[in-house]
Amino acid sequence: MSDILRQHAEQLFAQELEELKQQDSGHRPQNWVLAPQSVVTYLMGGTLPNGFEVSPKYIGNKRLMEIAVATLTTDRALLLYGLPGTAKSWVSEHLAAAISGDSTLIVQGTAGTSEEAVRYGWNYARLLAEGPTRQALVETPVMRAMQLGKIARIEELTRIGADVQDSLITILSEKSLPVPELNTAIQAVRGFNIIATANNRDKGVNELSSALKRRFNTVVLPVPDNTEEEIDIVRRRVESFEKVMQLPAEPPAAQEIRRIVTIFRELRNGVTADGKTKIKIPSGTLSTAEAISVVNNGLSMAAYFGDGRITASDLAAGIIGAVIKDPVQDKLVWQEYVETVIKTREDWKDIYRACRELE
């Protein structure tokens, strides 16, 4: 096993991608590694004609993935939209890996992302020495994707300032990136497109201008429909984490995962699973991704500080950390939940004690 902490999707699932490519029969858009149908299969999982099992990457509605893939075959870009932790970046990474075989052309959007990070920058030493030349130009991931006909990814598009966002308009509508200093333009090769992600909670921070919005098709990724689906997601992700981290701990029992997912769902929805009791909703999003990290956290605790078996006390700290984001309000919400819901459940005594101990 390599000592890379986290491998790119195309490395981790190289075999699956290879098999899909071999079995691919559909029409392949230019510069795509796989046919659109195979991309959907790669994301949703399935069995290939030769019996090879493709693991599911996205658990949820297949139609959403079909819309996402179909969007990328048109000349519109894709905007994945949803609450934090609803697998937007995950889907975007795997889409790029399956379509271009490369998920690394990525721009992380922040409030400080400048135009140089989106379009191109200059190597000032060379610029001073040689004047504006092609060699002095510093390419960005977007520019490289245009030249290679690949997918560029922009994370957290709505965090980027509006003026910088709008520099994408020409790239998306004319598929070209003018470089006035060199009196030239980079023209995108077929296969180029952009996948951007943005989250609901940031709505209105830097709302996309309507000109830019028009260049994107929006796909809203929802929180999982039901408990079983969410448990499935958490279990799969935790298993892959174990493999990567080489943890000696036993895999967590399904019921532990179920309890965490239940707690998260109840707090997220503001009502208990049986629909009988209303509860307050904490300020955090409590996404599936956070449930995954709580379990992973518990696993590490059990492996390094416990007897290798995951227990309630290993999880409690993680749960509390995830729920209490605002030290005053969320604490009240959590205490109320512990006392009114957790305490009353007969087989949740251990978790109740563990939570009380930490307070």
Partner: protein, 763 residues
């Protein structure tokens, strides 16, 4: 002779197109269609320019109206197309399903058997009720289209890798452009299914036997080329005829009832699944679109969607439409379909036009995918006289029946609007709730807001109520009269009266007034009288706008209040808490009514009656408290008298529960009364401040109980007021002498202006 069986899906635009093309190529000399032969005579109307689908054939049993069945047709129904073809070519067309006359009779028999089985044939509920679910049941049972309701097609769909039968059928047959040999393929698929799923109900066997019988009959009449249009499921049964003898055996001695049929307008909304119609379709609006524009690749649809969004102030450019159409195309390609279906178009709309927000999609669903189209039936079609009268009135008052909800604000001072209002009120009396009366904002009692939405079911109610008379006025009058005679309870008659007055039915009103008088005289129950009075008073007070003669109501109302005043004190004694609470509410309403009436004699009587209650030792304490309060409000009880009653009510010799109830009655309503009425305030605060510590602790829970009913802001204000005046100083009394007349004069114009009173008239 050649029999061509065309297996179709009911309401499938693709099937409709195929049927049309097939018939045009075949040139048959007779067409048979799945439908009720009872309605054969109605087929001559197809082709009439005013008979516009969606329409339905309504078959009902005149002596048993809860039995009714609808056979809806849209322009894209294959049956409709077949009938239309036949009418255009002037060749005979007939229905061939099992006659409804037999179906009803069989159902009645079954219901009777079930009732007998249950042991009490009289109390057995009628087998079907006239509501949506019953319509669905009906159609299931009598089989306009049982095939798709139970969906054996889903087996084929599953075999082809589709998630549901509808979708499979749509992609296999409805969206198909190349239609060669399609009916053979359908028949083959269905016969494979029928082999696998051999279970058939008796009703279904009977139906198919009747269809074969009709085909044989046509053969006997020497027609040479016969086209038979039926649900796909039945196609194999009609292609392979069993022996004639077996069918005749099966159909021998079927029971029969009398059945009548008529055309009624239908709506797309009613065709859709959402309204509970079991054999409907999801998207009639979309089907109508594909029927009208079979070669549309989504462009035209998207343009309509964009147009709709623009009317809702959503910026939608042509570029949006282009991208959405492309998106739908590539989704279809991804899924391996030759053409984008509604699902692909919806998904493209969602992600391209709506930015992922599905609220807008709901709008598109209601306005375009289902759409609120309503059909039209020509006036000459024989129909019940009441229906005829309603349609005539609708036309003359310019109140068209529409499937979408329309709002009308009627100004009763205008003649046409007044007539409209009268008409709608009459329909309401007949339980035809086409219009809903809503409260209007704004001043004046001459305005009415109506929301109108026509439902096809009203046709049934109209037929049912047709037995009362041939015009709306006549039917409403007779219906109200009979209801009034049946009514035992005063409140019911009064409600009827309140409804009958705006409906301008003088004969009925007279009858109702008479009924009320009789009931009131023979009725010793004060509670019933009190329930009736507020409604009558509002009739007197507000009825005048409509030129109705409310005078006759005034007389009986006054006599009723007198009766109440006599009986009330007794009614308030020796009753339990629940009864006291009920009377408390009625006291409030009646007092309101008396004040509204503004009749001096009545008011005096009423106050005397209240006095008796307030002083009565045996009356329920909560009522005593409230009576005291009402008298205080009316300024009848003041000063020492009031204080005395208060102290009596709250005296320590009473059990605490009695004091609590008294106080609850006294402070009924919200805390604002206490805040704004200085007299009340003074009585309560003085009493509290004079209490010694021991007794104070005793009554504290009672006070808390009463005050807990006030809202938090009110309680806070009360607290502030107490704090403010707790310095011990007596409340500033309003002394007449302290008013500076000159300065007061200066304030009057401002007050007048605030009240909106024109000052110029004084000058």
């Amino acid at each position: 002779m050649a029999v061509h069986v065309l297996g179709i899906r009911h309401h499938g635009p693709g099937s409709a197109r195929n049927v049309r093309q097939y018939l045009e190529a075949l040139q048959p000399d007779m067409v048979l269609v799945e439908g009720p032969p009872d309605a054969d005579a109605l087929l001559q109307w197809v082709g009439h320019k005013e008979l516009q689908p969606p329409v339905a054939i309504l078959c009902y049993q005149p002596d048993r109206l809860q039995q009714g069945v609808f056979y809806p047709f849209a322009a894209f129904s294959p049956e409709w197309q077949a009938i239309q073809y036949a009418r255009e070519r002037n060749i005979p067309v007939r229905f061939m399903d099992l006659p409804v006359a037999h179906v009803f009779a069989l159902q009645n028999e079954r219901a009777q058997r079930a009732a007998l089985h249950a042991g009490n044939p009289d109390d057995a509920p009628p087998p079907l009720h006239m509501n949506n679910s019953a319509v669905a049941e009906e159609t299931d049972d009598t089989g306009a289209m049982p095939v798709f309701a139970h969906d054996p097609i889903s087996h084929l769909a599953a075999a082809a890798g589709f998630s549901d039968g509808e979708k499979w059928w749509e992609h296999m047959f409805e969206y198909r452009q190349d239609t060669g040999g399609i009916f053979d393929a359908v028949a083959e698929a269905m016969s494979a299914l029928r082999d696998e799923l051999p279970k058939m109900s008796r009703m279904e066997k009977l139906r198919e036997a009747w269809m074969r019988k009709t085909i044989r009959q046509a053969e006997k009449e020497l027609y040479t080329t016969l086209a038979v249009v039926c649900g796909a499921w039945h196609a194999p049964a009609l292609q392979h005829m069993p022996k004639q003898k077996d069918d005749n055996e099966l159909l021998k001695g079927l029971p029969k009832v009398k059945v009548e049929c008529t055309w009624i307008p239908w709506t797309y909304n009613r065709l859709s699944f959402t309204s509970g119609y079991g054999a409907g379709i999801f998207s009639p609006g979309w089907y109508a679109h594909t029927w009208q524009y079979p070669h549309d690749d989504g462009t035209r649809w998207m343009a309509r969607v964009a147009g709709l969004l623009r009317t809702k102030q959503m910026d939608t450019s042509v570029a949006h439409v282009i991208d959405a159409v492309r998106m739908a195309g590539s989704l279809a390609a991804l899924r391996g379909y030759s053409k984008a279906g509604l699902e692909e178009l919806n998904e493209a709309t969602l992600s391209v036009l709506c930015n992922g927000e599905d609220v807008l999609l709901q709008l598109i669903h209601d306005a375009l995918i289902v759409s609120d189209t309503i059909g039209d039936v020509p006036g000459e079609v024989p129909k019940p006289p009441l229906q005829h009268d309603i349609e005539k009135t609708q036309k003359s008052l310019r109140l068209p029946a529409t499937a979408e909800m329309k709002e009308y604000t009627l100004d009763l001072r205008k003649e046409n609007d007044l007539e409209r209002s009268v008409f709608l009120h009459r329909l309401q009396l007949l339980d035809i709730n086409w219009g809903q009366n809503h409260a209007t904002g704004g001043k004046g009692t001459f305005k009415e807001l109506w929301r109108l939405q026509w439902e096809p079911e009203y046709s049934i109610t109209i037929i049912e109520k047709g037995s009362w008379g041939n015009t709306v006025a006549e039917a409403a009058t007779k219906y109200v009269n009979s209801e009034a005679e049946k009514a035992q309870h005063l409140a019911i008659v009064c409600q009827l009266l309140a409804k009958a007055l705006p409906a301008e039915l003088p004969v009925a009103v007279e009858k109702l007034v008479q009924c009320i008088q009789n009931l009131a005289a023979s009725n010793g129950d004060v509670v019933q009288l009190m329930e009736a009075v507020p409604g009558l008073v509002s009739v007197i007070r507000y009825g005048n706008v409509r030129n109705t003669d409310a005078a006759m109501v005034t007389g009986i109302t006054e006599s009723m209040i007198t009766r109440i005043c006599v009986g009330l004190p007794v009614a308030c004694t020796a009753i339990d808490d629940a009864a006291a609470q009920k009377i408390l509410e009625l006291l409030y309403q009646t007092d309101d009514a008396v004040r509204l009436l503004q009749h001096a004699d009545i008011s005096v009587q009423w106050q005397q009656s209240l006095q008796v209650i307030a002083h009565h030792t045996g009356a329920a304490p909560v009522l005593k408290g409230y009576a005291t309060r009402l008298l205080a409000d009316a300024q009848v009880l003041q000063g020492r008298q009031l204080v005395q009653l208060f102290y009596y009510g709250m005296s320590r010799s009473n059990p605490p529960s009695m004091s609590a109830a008294w106080l609850e009655g006294f402070l009924k309503g919200n805390g604002a009364f206490l805040l704004l009425d200085p007299q009340l305030w003074q009585v309560v605060t003085t009493w509290v401040s004079e209490l010694e510590e021991g007794p104070f602790e005793e009554v504290l829970p009672l006070l808390r109980r009463t005050f807990a009913r006030f809202t938090p802001p009110e309680r806070r204000k009360l607290g502030e007021k107490v704090k403010h005046s707790s310095t011990g100083a007596p409340l500033p009394a309003v002394a007449d002498a302290a008013i500076d007349m000159e300065r007061a004069q200066c304030a009057i114009p401002v007050v007048l202006q605030l009240l909106g009173i024109q000052q110029t008239s004084h000058e």
